[in-house]
C-alpha cells in the first residue's frame, strides 16, 4: 500500500504536465503577488520609518505624538483645501503654524501625512489598550445579557452573548504589541491564492483519474490485485500531498515576495497586533494564524479535489463535472452573498469558501444559529471540511473500486472536415497561436492590460486640481491676456495675504475670539489654497515669454503618468507582461519539438532555410502583436485623457524638458517612446528566438529566458533601481530622455 502511495506521488510530481502546471501556478502566484499594490495613500517606506521612529518612545508618549500629528495634519489638509474646520483654540494654533510654513515629515502632502498618522495612531491605540478593549467587550456582554430585549436565558441571543463573552474572556492577559505590521496585513489580505489552490487541486484529481482513464492506463491498473480499493486510497493520499505541496508553494511565494517588500519581523507577535485584527478571538501568534489559514485552505482544496476525483470516475463525468462546478460556485456565492445572521446564515460558513477565507472570517468572533444554538463559524467551517472530506473520499474510493471506467472520448465536432491549407506561414501561425495556445496568451495579455489601464488612477494633489482650473480659465486667452490674468490673481492673493496677517495680529493681540479667527482664516485660506497653482502658472508664463516661445501651458499630471515620471512603476509592470508573453509565444515557435519532429522537419525541402525565414517573420509579427496588446489600450486612454492641444504642444512645455534644443511635440515624444518600446519588444523576441534555435529543449529555453530576461525586470519591479540599475533605467525610458536632453 505504501509503495503504491509513493508511486502515485511520483506520477504527480515527476510527470511533465504536473511539473509544467506547478511552474504555471508559481508564475501565476508571482504575477498576482507582484501585481498587488500597497493599498494605502502613503508609501510603505513612510509607514516603516514612522513605526521605527515611534517604537522607541514610551507607550503614552507615542500615543500622544501620533494623535497630535494626526490632528495637526488633518487641520493642515483642511486649510489647504479651504475647508472650514472646528473653531477651537488648537485649530487657531495650527492655522498660525500653517501660515508660518508647515512641512510634512514622512510624505509629500498633508493628506497622506494625515492618513499615515491617523492609521498608525489607530493601530497603536488598539494594541496599547487591548486589555481595556477586552474588558469593554465583557462589560458590554454583561450589560446586554441583563436586557430583556435579548430574550430568556435559553434563547439563542442570550447564549450567543455568553458564548461571545467566553470567547474573549480567555484573551485576558494577551499582550499585542505595536510594530510595523503592514507586511503581515499584506500577507493575509490576498485572495487570488484561493483560486490558484482550487485550480491546482482539480488539476491533481484530473491527472490522477481522468488522464489515466483517458490514456487507458487505468484499465491496466484496475486489472491488478491492488488496482482497485488500495489504488483508490493511494490516489487519495497522493492528491492530499499534491494539495499540501501546492499550499506550501503558494505560501512560500507569498512569504518571499512579502519579505522582499516589507518588514515581517513581527510575525511572532499575537495576531491582535495587526491592524483590523483587534477582535480576533484566537490566542495565536500571526505565524500560527497564517499556518492555520493555509492548512484550512489546503483541506478545502483537498475536499474540492476529491469531489472532482469522484466525478471523474462517473460514466457521465461531463454532467458530473458541470454539477461539481455549480456546487463549488454556489458555495462561493453563499459565502459572498448570504447574511451570517439570517436563517440561512449557517450556509455562509458551511462551505469551502469560508474555510478558504479563514484569514477574513477569523478577524472577529461570529456565530451562526444552528437549531437555536450558537455555533462559532470556525467550528462550522471545520465540521464542513471534515464531513465533506470523508464523504467525497468515500464516494471516490467506492466508485473507483466498483466501476468500469472505459473511456468514451467525447469531443465537440466543430472542426472543419476540409483539408487545411498547405501554406507554411499559415500552418506555423496556426501551430503557435491555435494549437500551442499563443492566441490565449495574447487575449489574456490584452485583458490584463485593459484591466490595468482602466483601473489605473492618477493621484491628484490639490495644486494639480487648481492648476487644471487655471488652464481652463486661460484656454482662450492670448499670452498678454494670460499675463494680465496672472497679475490680477497675484494681486488678489497679495490682498488676501495682507488680510490674513491682519487677522493673525488681531488674534494674537486678543482682539478677536478663536472662533471668529478660525472662521475668517478658513475662508481666506480656501482662496489662498490656489496660490501654489498660480505660482506654477506664473513660472510657466515666465518660461514661455522669456525663454521658449514655442512652449505652451499644458496639463502635466496625466502626461507625467504616461511618460513614467511618477513613481508607479506601471511601465516596468507592462514590460514584464510583454516579456512574459514574448517568452511564452516565441518559445513555442522555435523550440519544444521532439527529436523525431525535428528530424522530420529537417529532411523536408523547406525545413531549413525557408522555415527559419518564415518563423523569423512570425516572430517579428508576434512581437508587434504583443506590443500592440500592451500599448494600444494605453494609447487609447492617453489620447482620450489628454487634450489635443497638450499633445501638440512643444516638449519644452514640460518642466523636465526645458533644456531640450530640438523642436519636438509631446505627442511626437510619445510616438518615439512607443517606437522604442516596439524596438525593445522586437529585440527581446529575436533574443528568445536565438536562444530557442540554439538550445532547442523548451524547458531549458524557458529557464534561460527567465534568468536573462524576466528576472532582471521582475527584480527592477520588486526592488527598484537597487537590483538592476541599468534595467530599471531602460524600462523607465530614461534612455530616450537622456538621448534627447
Amino acid at each position: 500500500m505504501m509503495k503504491l502511495f509513493f508511486y502515485e506521488i511520483r506520477k504527480l510530481f515527476k510527470g511533465k504536465a504536473p511539473l509544467i502546471f506547478l511552474l504555471v501556478i508559481l508564475s501565476a502566484a508571482l504575477f498576482f503577488d507582484l501585481r498587488q499594490e500597497w493599498d494605502r495613500y502613503y508609501p510603505y517606506e513612510a509607514y516603516a520609518k514612522l513605526c521605527n521612529d515611534v517604537l522607541s518612545l514610551p507607550e503614552e508618549e507615542r500615543e500622544n505624538y501620533l494623535k497630535e500629528n494626526a490632528d495637526k495634519y488633518n487641520a493642515f489638509y483642511s486649510f489647504e483645501l479651504g475647508m472650514i474646520s472646528s473653531d477651537d483654540e488648537k485649530n487657531a494654533q495650527y492655522i498660525l503654524q500653517y501660515e508660518n510654513g508647515a512641512e510634512t515629515i514622512y510624505t509629500d502632502s498633508f493628506f497622506t501625512e494625515y492618513s499615515l498618522f491617523s492609521d498608525t495612531y489607530e493601530q497603536n491605540t488598539d494594541t496599547c489598550h487591548y486589555s481595556q478593549h477586552i474588558s469593554d467587550i465583557l462589560a458590554q456582554a454583561e450589560k446586554m445579557s441583563e436586557l430583556s430585549v435579548f430574550g430568556g436565558k435559553n434563547s439563542f441571543e442570550q447564549k450567543n452573548i455568553s458564548d461571545t463573552a467566553a470567547a474573549y474572556k480567555v484573551l485576558n492577559g494577551l499582550t499585542p504589541r505595536f510594530a510595523d505590521t503592514a507586511g503581515l496585513n499584506f500577507l493575509l489580505s490576498f485572495s487570488a491564492d484561493k483560486l490558484l489552490i482550487l485550480t491546482a487541486a482539480v488539476f491533481g484529481a484530473f491527472v490522477m483519474v481522468m488522464d489515466e482513464r483517458r490514456t487507458g492506463s487505468l484499465r491496466i491498473e484496475n486489472a491488478t490485485k491492488n488496482g482497485r480499493t488500495f489504488l483508490a486510497l493511494s490516489k487519495t493520499g497522493a492528491v492530499f500531498v499534491w494539495c499540501a505541496a501546492n499550499s506550501i508553494l503558494l505560501l512560500a511565494v507569498k512569504l518571499i515576495i512579502t519579505a522582499a517588500r516589507y518588514d515581517i519581523s513581527a510575525i511572532f507577535l499575537p495576531i491582535q497586533s495587526l491592524s483590523g485584527f483587534i477582535n480576533c478571538p484566537y490566542a495565536l501568534s500571526t505565524a500560527e494564524y497564517i499556518v492555520i489559514a493555509s492548512a484550512l485552505g489546503c483541506i478545502a482544496a483537498f475536499v474540492c479535489a476529491m469531489l472532482f476525483a469522484f466525478v471523474f470516475t462517473l460514466k457521465k463525468y461531463i454532467i458530473g463535472g458541470a454539477a461539481g462546478v455549480i456546487f463549488t460556485v454556489l458555495q462561493f456565492a453563499a459565502y459572498e452573498r448570504l447574511d451570517g445572521l439570517s436563517s440561512l446564515g449557517v450556509f455562509k460558513y458551511f462551505n469551502i469558501s469560508a474555510a478558504l477565507h479563514f484569514s477574513e472570517t477569523g478577524m472577529t468572533f461570529t456565530t451562526v444559529n444552528l437549531f437555536q444554538e450558537p455555533v462559532d463559524t470556525f467550528t462550522v467551517s471545520v465540521t464542513f471540511l471534515l464531513i465533506f472530506a470523508l464523504l467525497f473520499c468515500a464516494a471516490f474510493v467506492f466508485s473507483f473500486a466498483g466501476s468500469y471506467m472505459d473511456f468514451q472520448g467525447i469531443s465537440l465536432n466543430i472542426r472543419s472536415s476540409r483539408i487545411p491549407s498547405a501554406n507554411l506561414f499559415y500552418r506555423e501561425v496556426y501551430r503557435v497561436f491555435i494549437t500551442k495556445g499563443g492566441l490565449a496568451v495574447l487575449i489574456l495579455l490584452l485583458c490584463v492590460t485593459v484591466y490595468d489601464v482602466v483601473n489605473d488612477d492618477v493621484h491628484y494633489e490639490a495644486v494639480d486640481g487648481y492648476y487644471e482650473l487655471y488652464l481652463n480659465d486661460i484656454e482662450q486667452m492670448t499670452l498678454s491676456e494670460t499675463a494680465d490674468f496672472i497679475k490680477e490673481e497675484e494681486k488678489h492673493f497679495s490682498d488676501l495675504q495682507n488680510k490674513m496677517s491682519e487677522l493673525n495680529e488681531s488674534y494674537q493681540n486678543g482682539k478677536i475670539t478663536s472662533g471668529s479667527y478660525v472662521t475668517a482664516a478658513t475662508i481666506i485660506q480656501s482662496e489662498l489654497a490656489k496660490r501654489p497653482a498660480l505660482r506654477l502658472l506664473s513660472e510657466q508664463y515666465r518660461y514661455i515669454s522669456e525663454e521658449e516661445p514655442s512652449a505652451n501651458f499644458v496639463y502635466y499630471k496625466k502626461i507625467d503618468k504616461y511618460m513614467n515620471f511618477d513613481n508607479s512603476k506601471d511601465d516596468i509592470k507592462s514590460s514584464l507582461y510583454t516579456q512574459l508573453a514574448l517568452v511564452l509565444v516565441i518559445c513555442t515557435l522555435f523550440s519544444g519539438f521532439s527529436v523525431e519532429e525535428r528530424r522530420l522537419i529537417s529532411c523536408t525541402a523547406d525545413g531549413k532555410g525557408k522555415l527559419l525565414i518564415i518563423r523569423t517573420y512570425i516572430c517579428i509579427l508576434s512581437a508587434a502583436a504583443i506590443f500592440l496588446c500592451t500599448a494600444l489600450p494605453e494609447m487609447v486612454v492617453l489620447l482620450s485623457h489628454n487634450r489635443s492641444s497638450d499633445l501638440s504642444a512643444a516638449l519644452q512645455s514640460l518642466t523636465y524638458f526645458r533644456g531640450l534644443n530640438a523642436n519636438i511635440s509631446i505627442g511626437f515624444y510619445f510616438v518615439l517612446m512607443y517606437l522604442l518600446r516596439l524596438a525593445s519588444a522586437l529585440f527581446t523576441a529575436l533574443l528568445i528566438a536565438f536562444i530557442g534555435i540554439t538550445v532547442k529543449e523548451q524547458k531549458t529555453v524557458i529557464v534561460l529566458c527567465s534568468v536573462i530576461i524576466l528576472l532582471p525586470t521582475a527584480s527592477a519591479l520588486l526592488f527598484g533601481p537597487e537590483a538592476f540599475p541599468l534595467i530599471y533605467e531602460l524600462e523607465r525610458n530614461a534612455l530616450l530622455r537622456r538621448f534627447l536632453i
Partner: protein, 237 residues
C-alpha cells in the same frame, strides 16, 4: 535513372563507431535492411535522409552529385518515415499532413489532392480530423507513412513502417509500397523478416556498422528462407 551512392561512409558517436566505411550504390527498387539492434541501420537511414552528418571522408552522391551541394533540391526528393511515433500530437491528422506538405513546398491545391488521396489509400479519412494524440499505434504509423509519401519523393526511407499495424493494414501498406516502387529508391528497415522477404528486391545485412552481405533477394533466398539466413549472420548476437 535515379541513383544513390555511398562512398566510405563512416559515423562516430564520440568514440563509438556506428558506421564503418560503408560503400554501396542504391538504384530504383526496394532495398531491405536487416540487422540486430545497434547494427547501424537507423544511423545509415538518417545519413541518407540528410538528418545526420557523416564523418569527414564520407561521400553521399545522388545522381553523381554530392548531396551537400544539392541541398534543398535533394531534400525535395526525400520521403522519410521515422521509427518513433512521438510527432505533433496536438495536430489533427489532416493538419499534420498539411503542415508537412507546406514544409515540402507542395502547393496548396496539389497538397489537398494528395492528402485526400493518401488518407483514402491508407484508410485514414474517418480519423483525419482527430488529434494525433488520440490515435492508436497503427493509425500513427499510417499517418507517418502518408506524410513520407507526400510530394511523390524519389527516395523513400521507411523505418519500421509496419510495426504495430494490424494484418489488414499491413497488407494495404505493403501493396502500396510495392506499387510505388517502380520509379523510386525505397530503403526499408524492419525487424519483420517476412516483410523484407515479400517486398525487397535487394537485401542488405548490417552488423556492427558494416555491410556483411548484400545482394538480390532472389539470389540470396534461393533455396533458403530469410529467417535461416538471418540466423546464420546474427544467430550469435
Amino acid at each position: 535513372m535515379n541513383n544513390l551512392q555511398l562512398k566510405n561512409v563512416s559515423k562516430h558517436y564520440r568514440s563509438k563507431l556506428a558506421l564503418d566505411n560503408i560503400s554501396c550504390e542504391f538504384s530504383v527498387g526496394i532495398w531491405g535492411f536487416l540487422g540486430p539492434n545497434g547494427a547501424g541501420k537507423s544511423t545509415l537511414m538518417n545519413i541518407i535522409a540528410g538528418i545526420l552528418k557523416p564523418d569527414g571522408e564520407s561521400v553521399v552522391l545522388y545522381n553523381e552529385t554530392p548531396v551537400p551541394q544539392l541541398g534543398r533540391s535533394y531534400r525535395s526528393v526525400i520521403g522519410y518515415m521515422p521509427q518513433q511515433q512521438n510527432v505533433f500530437r496536438d495536430f489533427t491528422g489532416a493538419q499534420f499532413l498539411s503542415y508537412m506538405a507546406a514544409l515540402k513546398g507542395i502547393g496548396s491545391k496539389a497538397a489537398r489532392v494528395q492528402i485526400s488521396e493518401l488518407l483514402q489509400r491508407l484508410e485514414l479519412t474517418d480519423i483525419a480530423h482527430r488529434r494525433i494524440s488520440g490515435y492508436s499505434g497503427g493509425m500513427k504509423q499510417r499517418i507517418l507513412l502518408a506524410q513520407a509519401l507526400l510530394g511523390a519523393p524519389e527516395i523513400l526511407i521507411l523505418d519500421e513502417p509496419t510495426a504495430g499495424v494490424d494484418p489488414k493494414q499491413r497488407v494495404i501498406i505493403k501493396n502500396l509500397i510495392k506499387e510505388i516502387s517502380e520509379d523510386k529508391i525505397i530503403l526499408l528497415s524492419t525487424h519483420i523478416v517476412s516483410d523484407i522477404e515479400k517486398l525487397a528486391d535487394r537485401i542488405v545485412f548490417l552488423k556492427d556498422g558494416r555491410i556483411v552481405q548484400q545482394g538480390a533477394a532472389d539470389e540470396l533466398l534461393a533455396g533458403t528462407e530469410l529467417e535461416s539466413l538471418y540466423m546464420r549472420y546474427f544467430g550469435d548476437e
